[in-house]
Symmetry: C2
Subunit: 340 residues, 2 copies
């Protein structure tokens, strides 16, 4: 145990600078109380109590302006929320409970106090939604784009990996897919997105609670979050598990803004290729999902949809409604296309 009072004064590694003194206070203000933090921001480092026999789960996620987002598309609040949500999603993907995050920010000189206030409020809203606290951070000027790096720390009795899918398992997806991709594609085309799609992009869902509920009510063999899109993330799960995933394209749950799309193949491409939905893909034995689906619907109003099955083999096989093999649905939105 650490003697003395708990410090909550300021993120540890921040540099002194008159310009940033107020911002430091703002970022401090987003820090929720954290029962595990024996020492929060304020010293050279934060100290996290080792949570009994649980594992600590850590990950990091980087958001760069003009690569992952554009300032023209998003409010500063949404930029902060989204960067934090993307990082915390990796804890959901392990069925881990969030403990806290460390946030490093680099912002251009023209970013004023109000800008940083909004950014911090978005980060704080996401932290509160996930029951996570701010354990530390760093702040710098940027002579170029905005840069937000969020490192997350969580705990889990038994973290669920992406590598446990077994032949015979069913594949289940939470929520509806493709909203974020539709928003990004709309902006890239110079159009104002459907408000529901815009919302999906600005406020990615927090699935940390749902993931733990799913893994407590069902024997989930493998779990991954849909950050790169169902197509890519299914390939990750297949490779890590050493199995083949068979996905039935007609059962992929489309985001409401895509449901009545005139070109169904475009809608499907966005739903499976788009990424940044931050929903979950789970592999579990048949007959497991019923109770979990009811619990997720009751507690979170969240759909759980069967999208396929696991077979011996490798890779991902896509089937149409008649069970015929089709090529991987293409589409969506790639980070590295943004600049073009």
């Amino acid at each position: 145990m650490i003697p003395g009072p708990r410090h909550g004064a300021r993120p540890g590694a921040m540099r002194d600078s008159a310009e940033f003194r107020r911002i430091r206070a703002l970022i401090d203000s987003v820090a929720a109380p954290c029962s595990e933090a024996l020492l929060g921001p304020g010293d050279d480092a934060a100290i996290v109590e080792s949570p009994g026999r649980q594992c600590l789960v850590v990950s990091t996620d980087l958001s760069v302006e003009r690569v992952h987002f554009r300032r023209e598309w998003l409010t500063w609040n949404a930029i902060g929320f989204r960067a934090t949500a993307a990082a915390i999603s990796d804890l959901a993907a392990m069925a881990a409970r969030p403990i806290g995050v460390l946030v490093s920010l680099a912002v251009p000189p023209e970013a004023d106090a109000r800008t940083l206030d909004e950014l911090a409020s978005g980060i704080g809203e996401c932290l509160r939604e996930n029951g996570a606290c701010l354990l530390g951070g760093d702040l710098s000027q940027s002579p170029g784009p905005v840069f937000i790096d969020v490192t997350v720390i969580g705990s889990a009795d038994v973290p669920v990996r992406r590598s446990g899918a077994r032949p015979g398992d069913e594949l289940w997806v939470t929520g509806r897919l493709g909203g974020a991709a539709l928003a990004a594609a709309s902006w890239a085309a110079g159009l104002e997105p459907d408000p529901r799609a815009r919302r999906a992009f600005e406020r990615p869902p927090s699935r940390t609670g749902a993931a733990r509920m799913l893994c407590e009510t069902a024997d989930v063999h493998a779990l991954i979050d849909l950050s790169d899109g169902l197509a890519g993330d299914a390939e990750q799960m297949a490779a890590a598990s050493g199995v083949r995933l068979v996905v039935e394209s007609a059962r992929v749950p489309l985001h409401p803004a895509l449901e009545d799309w005139a070109q169904p193949e475009v809608a499907l491409g966005m739903a499976v290729g788009g990424g940044e939905d931050y929903e979950l893909l789970a592999a579990m034995p048949p007959g497991m999902a019923g109770v979990a689906a009811a619990e997720l619907a009751r507690e979170y109003g969240l759909d759980l949809s069967c999208v396929g099955r696991v077979e011996a083999g490798e890779g991902v096989e896509w089937h149409d409604a008649r069970g015929e093999i089709i090529s991987r649905p293409a589409g969506g939105f790639d980070h590295f296309d943004v600049e073009s």
Copy 2:
């Protein structure tokens, strides 16, 4: 415990991209084996075993091109080493043992595989020097400067804070100060730095081992690393501890490249205002330092110098060789001046 084999395939949150696939492998290659990591890079997150009754210590440090370093000044290897060393120094400052780090990189499109190879080798060299492993990371293109954010995780039985200095304590500093500031000032003036100063800037010392040895052999009341310069960091310790620090300027150990400087006040300004020396400032009761100094000299060839004392009061008081109060020595190198 996590079933199944340990994964060491790739940092968790990295995006898929043909361009970066090779780089991912390179960054993987810097990861040393990590006994605490039940699951290393390769899944959505890394899992760190909770180390018995020890505390986990976490911190993050951001390095931005043209703010913290310039590519004209440093090799990519040195950029990677330095960014990692700066972050790990916060573990030394808590007397924590490094466990692992998460590294987020944003690099411009023109950065080729060799560039990233060198960057990764610098990161890896610093990790090995500190007995730390790579627990995860993220990688992105940058449409502007290079960004490197390093989050460190360590453990400590009793982390040593900056807030424990008490009246009557002596103040001790490891190593020699001002080398990094001299290098930066030389470059900024268009001069090639003294090779010893250049070395201090490129390869900041690893004091994680020395810090633990110091705290095991002496009753260290307060500890901080000299990242912002002795003047600024002494103010941090004074404020956190609620005491006055009295520093005798004549006893500040100057870096060898500054010892024979024609203008001693300029040399002193660099030594106390310069920052980025990543040495340690410790407060401990009188008579404690003898054994520690001998141990540090024997094990690390490291000086331990008494630079002053702690009194009741507040702030930092600077004394000259005759014990007269002088104004805070000015000088060094401020990050936010780099652009001017």
